[in-house]
Assembly symmetry: C2
Amino acid sequence: MLTGNGSMYMNDAISRSGLKYFCARNEAAAPMMAEAYARVKQSLGAVCVTSGPGSTNAIPGLAEAWVDAAPIMVLSGQVQRDHTTLNAGLKDLRSFGTQEINVIPIVEPLTKYAVMVNEPESIRYHLEKAYYLANEGRPGPVWLDIPMDIQYADIDPETLDGFTPDDPLRFEPAQTGKYVDQIIDLMKQARRPLVIAGNGIRQGNAQDDLMKFLDGSGIPVIFSRLGQDLMPFSHPLNMGQAGIKGSKYCTAIMKQADLVITFGCRLSVQLVGHKMDAFSDDAKVVMVDLLRDELDKPGVPISHPMHADVKEVLTGLNQHSNIHEHPNWNEWAESCAELKTSNPMVTPEYLRDPIDLYYFMSRLDAISDEHHLFVTDAGSNYYIGGQVLHFEYGQREITSGTFAAMGLSIPLAIGSAIAAPNSQILAVTGDGSLELNVQELKTMSHYGLNIKLFVINNGGYVSMRNWQDGFFEGRRIEGEEATGSGTLNLEKVAAAFDVEFTRIEGWKNVDDALAQVLSTDHPEFVEVVCNPEQKIVEPMADLSFDVSRA
Amino acid sequence: MLTGNGSMYMNDAISRSGLKYFCARNEAAAPMMAEAYARVKQSLGAVCVTSGPGSTNAIPGLAEAWVDAAPIMVLSGQVQRDHTTLNAGLKDLRSFGTQEINVIPIVEPLTKYAVMVNEPESIRYHLEKAYYLANEGRPGPVWLDIPMDIQYADIDPETLDGFTPDDPLRFEPAQTGKYVDQIIDLMKQARRPLVIAGNGIRQGNAQDDLMKFLDGSGIPVIFSRLGQDLMPFSHPLNMGQAGIKGSKYCTAIMKQADLVITFGCRLSVQLVGHKMDAFSDDAKVVMVDLLRDELDKPGVPISHPMHADVKEVLTGLNQHSNIHEHPNWNEWAESCAELKTSNPMVTPEYLRDPIDLYYFMSRLDAISDEHHLFVTDAGSNYYIGGQVLHFEYGQREITSGTFAAMGLSIPLAIGSAIAAPNSQILAVTGDGSLELNVQELKTMSHYGLNIKLFVINNGGYVSMRNWQDGFFEGRRIEGEEATGSGTLNLEKVAAAFDVEFTRIEGWKNVDDALAQVLSTDHPEFVEVVCNPEQKIVEPMADLSFDVSRA
């Protein structure tokens, strides 16, 4: 939350209610924190902001929660009802009351439910409906705008009408059964099957069902970015992350598969490549998804779109009497596994100075345990994190999965730390991304959260420099240069926001320094001096891997 | 601008074009900078951001430009056309291409024109139409979303169709003439007339016409916040700023007037009070405005709504043969003027320590000259700035007029400095507001702009504490306390972003310190240690002023 005149009765009520609340320094970051909280706890994150600019400031974080499908509820203050442009009903009014704007049409495209509450007696109905919709199906944000005279209205909670969802049964069991039969049939004919799993597995509470299906069938699996923390990387069937910035050999495996079954994964462009030609033309592609529109979208041809619940389909598969009547895929799975072992992301050439980010992040992964939670930010640490984090102890990763947006690490780390007070948060950001929500360093230090923030000092926007070199003959945008370490002194930034500072330099010092940093439980800002010429492995630009043995 | 993958061809084109460009540290601040640029130069401000999060990050600033009616054009990068959710036409897709979102429906309520450019050949048409609409009528933001394959498409500029607005004549001269006659008639009957003028005067290029009308008629004038820099405060007819946080005696003058004529002022709630009872029930109220909806909105009863152009009406009045056939209003005007002289905002009691903000800002005003431009932020400095800045040398003030939003000072100061390179920017912010866009301190120092940023250290959110005391028995929201000077060391904040630091303490030192600060032309961060118990004069809570002589 962030207080304001337009939400003052809600602010006071929150402070008196005994609810735990945390104050952000810019409303933009509050929904990011709530999103991380929701994803870590798998329950609702709530945000309270004031009217006008408080509401419009919150939109960057709202958009993140929308695309990454996190259930959050925003309660915004609003002026008294008769000063609202919404009730005035005049389209050319830009603002009417003090610090007023009609935020509803702006946030409607980013929410599952957005209303201004116009009657005190409807508050229970709207709260319950919003709560239900935030969590139902594909989760997402909801928004209630609460005018001042609703905030202070007297109500009798006993007499208020609630909300009852009308259709708890989303899919016909008979149809789901047909889909299960179809998949079983396809499996019988497959020689090189592949499962691709995404965040829908977690949202559909189907993690155990997926593991049972994989272990039972022996099908290799590839994950989307938001799904890759579902399974330890060392599992022999786990081929890691797919996509443009995925495992080195994922492109080859995807291209060789003759049956692809996706569960709760939208097959984003990032995953299937800009030409959307990741799979063989002959491959059968099954896509199991909750949303019709994801199945219908242009791009990868889906031979078997299945509009169904992933948990129901996986349960059906696991219980199917013919589940074991398929070819033996051991050779295919071993061939994939050999590609994995013979093509590690981190090789001895990375043991060099200045520190290579592949080396640093692999050591961070190696030293972590089950009480850690990873947070990554946009840019090189996002890509490399996706490639080297191994989740051996069931660690979660919280990141801006869809947008790969800059500046999320600090707010996501804060929300994660609040949701998991017994965990230590290993958050990585770049010296470019750091700036976008730098004010929240103060929130981190104020609440004394157990966050270790690793700030990769590589002279600014590495990803931007890479495309400037690749596409534009190395031409630089001048202002960017100034965002880098050459001019921003990270130690002084940490001091400004009262965060303890440490610097790591030299690859040989990484392990000792990390052991020291992780041994304490206070917030810490760790500058990691890395190679400004960092390059990222882009497997979809390299099709030379061979899986012809299968 | 802020670079990104989705806008990379535009970024490169801008860097090669020879256009001057400035890089912000968070997209949220870029439209704020462009807004200040547009308002200072009275021409278009332009913004370039990337797709997805770059676009949604820009919305807080976009909302500011919308409510404060600044003409800005946002060019956002977008993924290639066949990866856009807009072209997929499926409503449940939240994102399709890499870092993609359909930003158009989100920004539509905040813009006069918002389209994704889908054909390379239409680019000239959309640019010209957007440019026209941004500046036409009440100005405002426009937004063009440019897919990657439009960014790099080959076009022949000579062959492209342009845009021609179809109706340059907005109002019928005969109707405007009738309005002018009506005002002349009302003036004949008026004993205590009052003019209220707003930002529409500047937007309508009618500043000289207003001055001529006031000097010719001798009618006292009151201004809205965004209009008060139109006229020196020392002018005998200028009664200063109206409203809840206006001049001490404005309430009495507004209540006593028997004829109120407003020009380009929307009579906001902030101006007419929360009960919207600022005027006498018997008063005739003329409202001249460009927008029908502003005339039709509920609130203050407008006896004579006039849908017209302020410049055309004022020109008509000034040329009218009967312009001088009205009563002599000298006594009324003198009575108003006496209220003004006998009720200064800054009195000797303010000469005390810790520094009172009324005193500090009045000294800042006094020491300023025609090469200065004021910027104020939300909270106490916003209110007090509105009450004590006098604009004797035609200085402009750039502030968040409608939203009174926190955190605008730094980006508005940057945009102002870029627009007026020969001016020195006197920007004021609070230690609470400072945090919201603190990252842009680096932009300020990087470009070496002539900005003197006065940071009022009064222990955080003074305005919030005042309403907590007034409404909620002094209960505090805990996190806020941490935003104050007790925990955030402003000298360290300045150091983190490479801005020279000065501290002013003690009212007797203010003049010398200001003279020193203003004598240089580099960016400077000036902490002003002020009274944490700062109270704000609220004239609408005090109706004891007497204008019965009139």
